[in-house]
């Protein structure tokens, strides 16, 4: 191994050497592009109701057939992907931002700040997320923004704990103590030393969080607490699988969203796994 390579370049090389992670990244890119370009690719308005085309099987006109109000399943799948991916990404980013900041603060300041932040993390973790979501859905009105907000509010402690742990160990290291000795402020300490050092680990946590959030959205929408009609997410589309007749005779209604969720989450997990190995090749972190 050449000593000339930086740690980042090494990590990148390790990541690219992981075939599963690479395949996952390629799939996610494709899914992302399809979702972004949905209006151009879909060929139909995802909300165009047509009772004359009621639960039709796939055809040239409707690539994946039509649903119970005659809407084009392919168009809905792509537009649903936008929502599912958006909720997954945004809520994870928000959770990471809050968690990283609070974790770093707790680690750097210690003492009372640490105690308050970690107690808050305990409280959030013990709050039954389902109750919170139903209540907020009622108060704020169920919406995509509400989902992002609630998911972020319920999941920042994961990143917070990781960052706090890393910060604590970082605080003991020579270069950080040297910086403090030279009078570096705490904010500067967080910005200049802590954040760069924890970034890679946070990325790993974040990736795995995205997978969890996509699944959580699917479950909530399945229970009827998520995305509101006429919009669809993959989870709401999957509710059709509950019905025996639709399950047995109309696979075009539930197989595409089912596959979409499974493959996307799998791809995200592959990428997260690859990132973890790339950042931490010895596998010291559990």
């Amino acid at each position: 191994m050449s000593t000339a390579l930086s740690p980042a370049a090494l990590a990148a090389r390790r990541f690219l050497g992981n075939r599963l992670a690479l395949a996952g990244a390629v799939f996610l890119t494709a899914a992302g592009v399809l979702a972004l370009a949905a209006p151009l690719v879909a060929g139909h308005d995802p909300n165009a109701v047509d009772l004359a085309a009621f639960r039709e099987p796939p055809s040239a006109a409707h690539l994946l057939g039509t649903d119970s109000t005659g809407r084009d399943v392919f168009a809905r799948l792509l537009h649903a992907g936008r929502i599912s991916l958006l909720v997954g990404l945004l809520s994870s980013l928000a959770a990471l931002a809050v968690g990283t900041l609070l974790g770093a603060l707790a680690g750097v300041f210690g003492g009372a700040v640490d105690a308050v932040v970690m107690r808050a993390a305990d409280v959030v973790l013990s709050f039954p997320s389902l109750v919170v979501i139903v209540v907020l859905a009622g108060v704020l009105g169920p919406s995509t923004a509400m989902l992002v907000l609630v998911f972020a509010a319920g999941n920042w402690p994961t990143a917070c704990r990781v960052v706090r742990g890393l910060t604590l160990s970082l605080r003991e290291q020579e270069y950080v103590q040297a910086a403090r000795a030279f009078g570096a402020g705490r904010a500067a300490l967080i910005g200049r030393h802590v954040l760069p050092a924890v970034l890679s680990q946070v990325a790993v946590v974040g990736t795995l969080l995205v997978a969890q959030m996509i699944l959580l959205e699917a479950v909530l929408s399945f229970l009827g607490l998520g995305v509101q009609p006429p919009r669809a997410s993959w989870g709401t589309m999957l509710t059709d699988a509950q019905n025996l007749t639709l399950l047995q005779t109309m696979p075009w209604l539930w197989l595409p969203p089912g596959l979409a969720i499974a493959l996307t989450v799998l791809a995200v997990n592959f990428v997260g796994d690859g990132l973890r190995d790339a950042v931490d090749p010895k596998g010291t972190r559990r």
Binding site: N47, A48, V49, L51, A52, F54, S68, T69, G138, G141, P142, G224, Q228, P229, P230, Q242, N243, L244, T245, L246, Q248, T249
Partner: protein, 515 residues
């Protein structure tokens, strides 16, 4: 191995807790003598004092009895009362002789008197108190019971027939203080009744168990009935696996279920209909042309043909009782161009946004909401969909904060007076079930005149006049009257399907089970 065995102990402890579950006491019954019946929702309690709730009433139909019931053709049939006479100022019931409660105690008119006094007493927390207010009750002898309504009202029978006013045992409840009787534990565990079956247990989220009542007035041939509150989708699957003997099914599943071996399907017109209520106290909907336009905008025939697989009819009236309907009514056929021009004529502002609220969860109804949104949008009315919980919807009725509400149900087939409470000026929600806050005094006059008469012909004439006004004014945006679809396994014999699922078990004492 200490540490590992510690971990194992934790897991095993969990298992042990699980296995010593006290609710698992086995009560083995030969499956040959038992049938499984579907309940569309979880029952709460079994009390005629509580506000009516479908699944509670379905169970009470089996364990309690009434003076009279409604059969599968929506006519009144005798139950505890052998016969009755309706006069202008009184209804006289002649009770069957020699009946016994399921614990062997003789039944008399005193039980009936006790029940009706309780039901009419607001102190008891009875939800029926308002309806029975002012009525007087008498039991001149052991087998006669007389009701004197506050005002002449021929429709009174439909207020007390099944599934309301189930008769309660005085010898069990008579000593409970009236103001606390509604919370009595008896209504969680009503083991004494007059119905063909007696209550055994209610395992929440699992099943209600009933057993044949040995003291019923004739032999009951099914030893056990299990009523299972599960989702329609699960019930349909269980019809296929033989775990279910009687269930309502959705139109989507009609062909699947009909293809199951030994399962038969029957369709009957329901006594209610799916509709949208517009809040008519909101000036935007005050002009009847707006409501007519909305009906013209929606292809209701296609809704019935596709969503209901043809099992239903387009509804064009708030009345359902056949003899109350005139021969012809305006059909408000699908005509988007006419809808647009009517909206323009009435000065509808296309920038105006309207919210359509409904309780989600029923596939056909959810689809109908989407179709309505799209159809009204095409006619120039911007509609936003809003899924709500039941409590939120009811509160919005009372506070008049809804624009459009999509809901179904109602039991209007036996007598047209039941429809009148949905359009009467004095019956605004929550006093009555006039959700749309529609008010037309001349219509009220017609229905009040009709209910003061005993002659069917004369009543019909007045009600048909009322129905014509109702049809022209469009107090509700009627969508369709769906068929009630029943599926029965080959084991269950003697089930007579009724369109009203709340009284669907009306002849349960005649059911038998095949080998």
């Amino acid at each position: 191995m200490n540490r590992l065995s510690g971990a194992l102990a934790v897991v095993l402890l969990g298992l042990a807790i699980g296995c010593s579950d006290p609710t698992n006491t086995p009560a083995r019954v030969s499956p040959h003598d038992a049938i499984n019946v579907y309940l569309y929702q979880k029952p709460k309690r079994f009390s005629p004092l509580d506000p009516p709730s479908g699944p509670d009433q379905q169970v009470m139909t089996l364990i309690f009895d009434n003076l009279l019931a409604v059969d599968d053709s929506y006519t009144f049939v005798p139950r505890l009362a052998e016969r009755w006479e309706v006069a202008e100022d009184r209804i006289t019931f002649h009770l069957r002789q020699g009946l016994k409660w399921s614990d062997g105690t003789p039944f008399t008119s005193r039980d009936v008197l006790f029940t009706y006094k309780l039901l009419a007493d607001a102190e008891s927390g009875s939800a029926l108190a308002g309806r029975l207010a002012g009525a007087a009750f008498e039991a001149p002898d052991d087998t006669t019971f007389v009701i004197r309504p506050a005002r002449p009202n021929v429709g009174f029978l439909s207020l007390v027939a099944r599934p309301y006013a189930f008769i309660l045992p005085e010898h069990v409840l008579g000593r409970e203080p009236v103001d606390r009787i509604a919370s009595s534990a008896f209504f969680n565990h009503p083991t004494v009744g007059l119905g063909p079956y007696t209550f055994v247990s209610y395992r929440t989220d699992q099943y209600v168990e009933l057993a044949a009542n040995p003291h019923y007035r004739k032999p009951v041939s099914i030893a056990r009935i299990f009523l299972k509150p599960i989702s329609s989708d699960v019930a349909t699957a269980q019809l296929g696996t033989g775990e279910m003997d009687l269930a309502q099914i959705s139109p989507t599943d009609l062909r699947t279920v009909a293809a199951f071996k030994g399962v038969t399907v029957a369709a009957r017109p329901s006594p209610g209909f799916i509709r949208m209520a517009a809040d008519l106290s909101d000036k935007r909907f005050a002009d009847p042309r707006i409501r007519r336009a909305m009906l013209h905008a929606i292809d209701r025939k296609a809704l019935v043909a596709q969503l209901l697989a043809g099992r239903g009819r387009v509804q064009n009236s708030s009345f359902v009782t056949p003899w109350a309907l005139p021969g012809t009514l305006e059909e408000y056929a699908y005509d988007p161009a006419r809808a647009r021009s009517l909206l323009a004529e009435a000065g509808w502002n296309p920038a105006e946004k309207v919210t359509l609220s409904w309780i989600p969860g029923q596939r056909d109804r959810d689809a109908a909401a989407t179709v309505v949104q799209s159809a009204l949008g095409a006619a120039g009315m911007t509609v936003e969909l809003k899924q709500v919980q039941a409590a939120e919807l009811l509160e919005s009725y009372e506070k008049r904060t809804f624009d459009l509400a999509l809901y179904g149900g109602g039991s209007y087939a036996a007598d047209p007076s039941s429809s009148a409470t949905t359009i009467n000026c004095a019956a605004f929600y929550p006093t009555g079930s006039n959700v749309s806050n529609y008010c037309d005094p001349s219509l009220d006059t017609l229905t009040a005149q009709a209910d003061a008469l005993t002659d069917r012909e004369q009543r019909a004439k007045l009600y048909q006049e009322a129905a014509r006004r109702d049809n022209a004014q469009v107090p509700y945006l009627w969508l369709y009257n769906p068929d009630t679809l029943w599926a029965t396994s080959s084991r269950l014999r003697g089930f007579k399907p009724s369109g009203d699922f709340t009284t669907g078990f009306w002849n349960a004492d005649e059911w038998t089970v095949a080998g």
